[in-house]
């Protein structure tokens, strides 16, 4: 009979904990008397039938004691690991119940999740559909957590059951050595493996899996299997950060070692570069070079004071990918995720990270200034293959939307992972610059991303001609484009955002000081996040959840389409 939700609600580790201690004590009572085994030996020089019989009896006795010690040891570790596994089940049950409570769902004894909230009516169809979808997604997530709890319970049951079966069958043997060795051998046979994550799990499935691990099991995963979780959307970010730091260190050691070898190979005894040798190892040489620079940048970011985190790391892709955060993404009230564009590399992402650190501080300052206490975390997401100059004529070109579409799918999972990993959803804003805004646009065309607001700046298009295709509330999309920003007027990927119906606009133009001096606003495709600029201020307002305080206004220039001009009627768009 498979376990039901009602069954596992009654699971608690206490009895297993007591049994673990008692079994260990029982085992030790045997191994502590190892000297008795030696003492049981008959004197040398004793021969004859009686001696032979005694010898046989003794051999059997010692063998059986070793087996018994091994079996009790196996029972001890099996019960110990089962106790920890049950702690994981309890954790999974608890988060499922928390989710249900927060979402106004009920979980029946058979595990069915029911929606307790009454139906809403909204006049705006787009928003109503969005809410229905979000509700459905949330119910589905709750159901996933119930499933994960049951899967964990089944795993604990299966692991413990397997050891019990071995004890029953007598296949746990104590070997030919000491009692201590028999104990160690038995312990090893009783151990449970940590339940691995679901293959190709969705962020919600991954979150549910993580919730089903006990604290000890999570530590084991971080330390022994960091690659399971470093990039796994849905796992809490503190754990991803720890795992990725470990992976970064490991990669650094490997890269440094290989680099030293290749450098020796490519230089003669006078230190001159041997081009012919370089050609032989060029592919690896260039890859290592790129990795070294990436590792250096990431290492420097993490080493500096402040709340920096490495939320993603991937050396297996053509160019290194990484995700870096400022602040605590697991707990911040407001989270902003920024996706940069053309020529962005991990090696060069320090500047973007710096912009995001400043945005975090600026947003927190603005919130405090208006009387709120909200905390903020900002993320620079370079989890895709941003087109480079070198790829301009390849499929990974800025001229094609391929990278943006693929990147958009990954980015959508990252957004989902933020909501799945946290008990309370943050106020989430997506930021996208240049080609990164196209990627963000594609990400927002996926269901269930649960992004509250999006700011696009300097965008060649969002991969769509209508904001209706974006899974974001009406009026929650913002566009900032500086005058003469040619990239922003490309309309290479869907419509020019400046002219899109329903798009809110953020001012980037000049302002004047009280004594009449003009302040240069943003011109061209330059830094929309310049410290103290109007656009940075507006972004801080939007990220902080106060978009009405942003400075609105279009910066329409000659390169913008007619439909963007102020006098162009809305109903024609």
């Amino acid at each position: 009979m498979p376990l039901t939700w009602g069954d596992i609600l009654q699971w608690h580790p206490a009895a297993l904990d007591s049994a673990e201690a008692a079994l260990r004590a029982a085992r030790n009572a045997c191994t502590d008397r190892a000297g008795d085994l030696d003492g049981m030996a008959t004197p040398k020089g004793w021969s004859g039938d009686a001696a032979d019989n005694a010898s046989v009896s003794l051999r059997r006795l010692t063998g059986e004691l070793r087996d018994l010690v091994a079996q009790v040891s196996a029972a001890y570790t099996a019960v110990r690991d089962a106790a920890d596994g049950v702690r994981g089940v309890e954790s999974a049950v608890r988060t499922a119940l928390d989710h249900a409570h927060a979402g106004e769902f009920a979980i029946d004894a058979d595990g069915t999740v029911r929606d307790l909230r009454p139906q809403m009516c909204l006049s705006n169809t787009h928003d109503w559909l969005l809410i229905q979808q979000e509700r459905q997604d949330r119910l589905g997530e709750c159901a996933l957590r119930v499933e994960a709890a049951l899967r964990k319970a089944a795993d604990v049951d299966a692991d413990l059951g397997a050891v019990l079966a071995k004890i029953l069958a007598g296949t746990i043997k104590g070997g030919d050595g000491s009692l201590g060795a028999a104990a160690a051998s038995g312990e090893a046979m009783g151990r449970h493996s940590v339940l691995p994550p679901p293959g190709h799990g969705s962020p919600a499935e991954n979150a549910a899996w993580w919730a089903s691990l006990s604290a000890d099991e999570r530590e084991e995963v971080i330390g022994a299997h960091p690659e399971w979780i470093g990039n796994r959307d849905g796992v809490e970010f503190a754990a991803r950060d720890r795992a990725n730091r470990l992976l970064l260190d490991r990669r650094r050691a490997h890269v440094d070692e290989r680099w030293a070898i290749l450098e020796r190979f490519c230089h003669d005894e006078n230190g001159r570069f041997i081009y012919g040798n370089y050609l032989q190892v060029k592919a690896e040489y260039e890859d290592l070079k790129e990795e070294r620079e990436s590792i250096a940048t990431l290492g420097a970011i993490l080493a500096r004071p402040g709340a920096h985190a490495l939320l993603g790391l991937d050396f297996t892709t053509e160019r290194t990918q990484a995700i870096v955060a400022n602040g605590d993404v697991d707990h911040a009230d407001h989270v902003a995720v920024f996706t940069p564009g053309l020529t962005s590399t991990v090696a060069g992402m320090g500047g973007y990270d710096s912009d995001m650190a400043a945005l975090k501080l600026r947003t927190e300052g603005e919130l405090f200034r208006r009387g709120e206490q909200g905390t903020v975390a900002t993320v620079t997401w370079l989890g895709y293959q941003a087109p480079q100059w070198s790829t301009i004529f390849t499929s990974n070109s800025v001229a094609s939307s391929g990278a943006a579409e693929a990147g958009g799918a990954s980015l959508a999972n990252f957004y989902r992972g933020i909501n799945a990993a946290r008990p309370t959803d943050p106020d989430l804003t997506a930021l996208g610059h240049s080609y990164g805004s196209t990627t963000t646009g594609y990400a927002l065309q996926q269901a269930g991303v649960d992004v509250d607001r999006a700011i696009f700046f300097g965008s060649p298009g969002l991969g769509t001609s209508s904001l209706d295709t974006l899974a974001i509330r009406s009026g929650a999309a913002y566009y900032a484009e500086a005058k003469w920003d040619g990239v922003g007027d490309l309309a290479a990927f869907g419509a020019d955002p400046t002219g899109m119906k329903g798009m809110q606009h953020l001012q980037t133009g000049a302002a004047t000081t009280p004594d009449g001096r003009a302040w240069e606003g943003i011109i061209g495709h330059l830094d929309y996040l310049k410290d103290g600029s109007t656009s940075q201020y507006s972004m801080a307002q939007v990220v902080g959840g106060h978009p009405d305080s942003a400075v609105h206004g279009k910066n329409v220039g000659l390169t913008d389409p007619i439909s963007a001009q102020d006098w162009y009627p809305e109903w024609l768009k």
Binding site: C30, R33, K44, W46, A50, R59, A188, F265
Partner: protein, 139 residues
């Protein structure tokens, strides 16, 4: 010629076996295991625990019995030799047993059985060894 030393050794071996038997008689892994089932009601393991507990209890009891029986036999042998010199001479006259009565304990005995290692499907594939085609780099 007396064989007091050898007879003493037999009695000591018997005493050691009795002590071991008494010690092992104090453990009740079966009872302990039975109580653990209460933590995980309705599971397959909880159902199996009762049977396994019984088996463990029986193995403990059997071993204690065997140890005491071994002790009893040695004590009986010792008494015989103490009483009858001829028997003792026959038992202890031959060259020493070259085969030790206890197996030699190998140093650093390996644990038996494979350690369980989970093969996890991961979202990050292992780095491909794509450089093999370039041949080894002279070190």
């Amino acid at each position: 010629m007396t064989y007091e030393v050898e007879i003493g050794a037999l009695r000591a071996a018997a005493a050691a076996a009795r002590a071991a038997g008494d010690q092992v008689a104090t453990i009740h892994p079966g009872d302990v295991l039975r109580a653990a089932g209460g933590a995980i009601p309705h599971s397959g393991s909880a159902a199996a625990i009762s049977e396994v507990a019984g088996v463990l209890e029986r193995r403990v009891t059997d071993w204690v019995g065997a140890a005491r029986q071994y002790a009893g036999t040695l004590e009986g042998n010792a008494a015989q030799y103490a009483h009858d010199d001829r028997l003792a001479a026959a038992a202890f006259a031959s060259p020493p047993n070259t085969a030790p009565s206890l197996p030699v304990r190998p140093a650093g005995a390996r644990t038996k059985g494979p350690l369980v290692v989970a093969q996890a499907p991961t979202s990050v594939p292992a780095a491909p060894s794509k450089y093999l085609r370039l041949g080894p780099v002279p070190e």
